[in-house]
C-alpha cells in the first residue's frame, strides 16, 4: 500500500510540475527568486540523501560499513571513474567490509 501511495503522490505532482509550462503555452512566469534557487535544489537534496542513506539508522547518526562504500565512491569520483563504476565500487566495498567484519 505504501508503494502505491508513493507512486500516486509523486506521479501526480511530477506531472503537474512538467505540465504547467506546456498547458499554459509558456505564459506562466516564475518569481525571480524561485527561478534563481531551483537549480540548487538538486545538489541540496541529493547531498542530504547522501548523508541520510550513509549515516542514518532510525533517529541516530552512525558510522558503519556504508561509510566505507561512500569513501570508496569519493576516491572513484576523484579518479574520474564513470558513474556506474563508482556505484559498483561503493557497493562492493561495503559488501566486503560486512563480510570481513
Amino acid at each position: 500500500m505504501t508503494g502505491w501511495a508513493l507512486i500516486a503522490a509523486l506521479g501526480a505532482t511530477t506531472y503537474a510540475l512538467r505540465a504547467a509550462g506546456p498547458l499554459t503555452a509558456g505564459r506562466l512566469r516564475l518569481p525571480r527568486w524561485i527561478d534563481a534557487l531551483l537549480p540548487y535544489v538538486m545538489p541540496a537534496v541529493l547531498a542530504g540523501l547522501v548523508v541520510t542513506a550513509t549515516f542514518a539508522t532510525d533517529d541516530r547518526l552512525v558510522l558503519d560499513e556504508r561509510a566505507v562504500g561512500l569513501a570508496v565512491a569519493v576516491v572513484a569520483l576523484v579518479l574520474r571513474a564513470p558513474v556506474l563504476a563508482v556505484v559498483v565500487a561503493a557497493a562492493a566495498a561495503t559488501a566486503l567490509a560486512r563480510a570481513l567484519g
Binding site: 535544489v41 538538486m42 541520510t52 547518526l61 556505484v87 561503493a90
Partner: protein, 234 residues
C-alpha cells in the same frame, strides 16, 4: 554517423546510460520492498531517475510514503522551469501538449533547445520517447533480475544509493560554488533532521539548503551545466 529514425549517436549513448540505470533502479526498488508491478508503474508514471532513486532510498530508510514522495518532488521541481522552456513551442492542441508534458526531462529539453533556433519539437519528442522506452525496458530487466537476489545488504546495495547521488551532483560540485554551498547546507540540514525530526523528514528539510546558494551569483553559468551525455538517467 548514420542515424536510424533520427536517433543519432548522442541520443543512442544517452539511451544506453538510461537503460543501465533503469536496470539498477529495478534491482534496488525490488530490494527496497516494492513489488514488480509497482516498480514498473513508477517508472512509467514518474519517469524521473534521480527522484525515483531518492524516493525508494527514503522508503528503504524507513520514511513514510509522504516523506519519500516529498524528497522526489523536491528533485522534480526543476521540471517546472524546463516545462516553461518548451511550453510555448509545443503544438498539437491541449491534448497534444498534455501528452508531450510527460516527456519533459533534462535530456529532451537540453537536446531539443538551441539558443538561436529555439525548440525543435520533433527532436524533443524523439529524445523523450526514446528515453522513456529505454527507462522502462531497463526497469523491467532490473525487476526480473532483482527477484533473484538474496539479502541486498550482503551485496552492499544500500551503499549504492549515496554513491549514485554523490556521482550525480559531482560535476556541479566541481564547477559551481553555489552548488557546493547548497550541497553542504543540504547535508547539514539532513544530518540535523535525522536526529531531531521524525523518520524520513531529514531529506525533506535538506531542500532548504538550496537557499545557501543565494549569494553565490544567481543562475549557474551555462558552461558549468553537466554534459547531457554524462547524465545518468531521465
Amino acid at each position: 554517423m548514420p542515424s536510424v529514425a533520427g536517433i543519432d549517436r548522442t541520443v543512442a549513448t544517452i539511451a544506453l546510460a538510461v537503460l543501465t540505470f533503469g536496470i539498477s533502479f529495478g534491482v534496488l526498488a525490488r530490494a527496497a520492498g516494492l513489488d514488480g508491478a509497482q516498480v514498473i508503474a513508477m517508472s512509467a508514471i514518474v519517469f524521473a531517475g534521480s527522484a525515483q532513486f531518492a524516493a525508494v532510498a527514503a522508503l528503504d530508510g524507513g520514511a513514510s510514503a509522504l516523506s519519500a514522495a516529498l524528497a522526489g518532488i523536491a528533485l522534480n521541481s526543476r521540471y517546472l522551469p524546463l516545462g516553461l522552456v518548451v511550453g510555448r513551442s509545443l503544438g498539437g492542441g491541449a491534448a497534444g501538449r498534455a501528452a508531450s508534458a510527460h516527456l519533459v526531462i533534462d535530456e529532451s529539453v537540453a537536446l531539443a533547445t538551441d539558443a538561436e533556433a529555439g525548440v525543435d519539437e520533433a527532436r524533443f519528442h524523439l529524445v523523450g520517447v526514446t528515453l522513456l522506452a529505454a527507462w522502462l525496458a531497463g526497469t523491467a530487466v532490473g525487476v526480473l533480475g532483482g527477484g533473484l537476489i538474496g539479502d541486498p545488504a550482503d551485496l552492499g546495495l544500500d551503499a549504492a544509493y549515496p554513491a549514485l547521488f554523490l556521482a550525480l551532483i559531482w560535476p556541479r560540485l566541481r564547477a559551481e560554488r553555489g552548488a557546493r554551498r547548497a550541497a553542504l547546507a543540504g547535508a547539514g540540514l539532513a544530518a540535523a533532521g535525522v536526529v531531531l525530526l521524525p523518520a524520513g523528514l531529514g531529506v525533506v528539510v535538506a531542500t532548504a539548503g538550496a537557499a545557501a546558494a543565494w549569494h553565490a551569483g544567481g543562475r549557474p553559468h551555462p558552461a558549468a551545466e553537466p554534459d547531457p551525455a554524462e547524465e545518468a538517467g531521465p
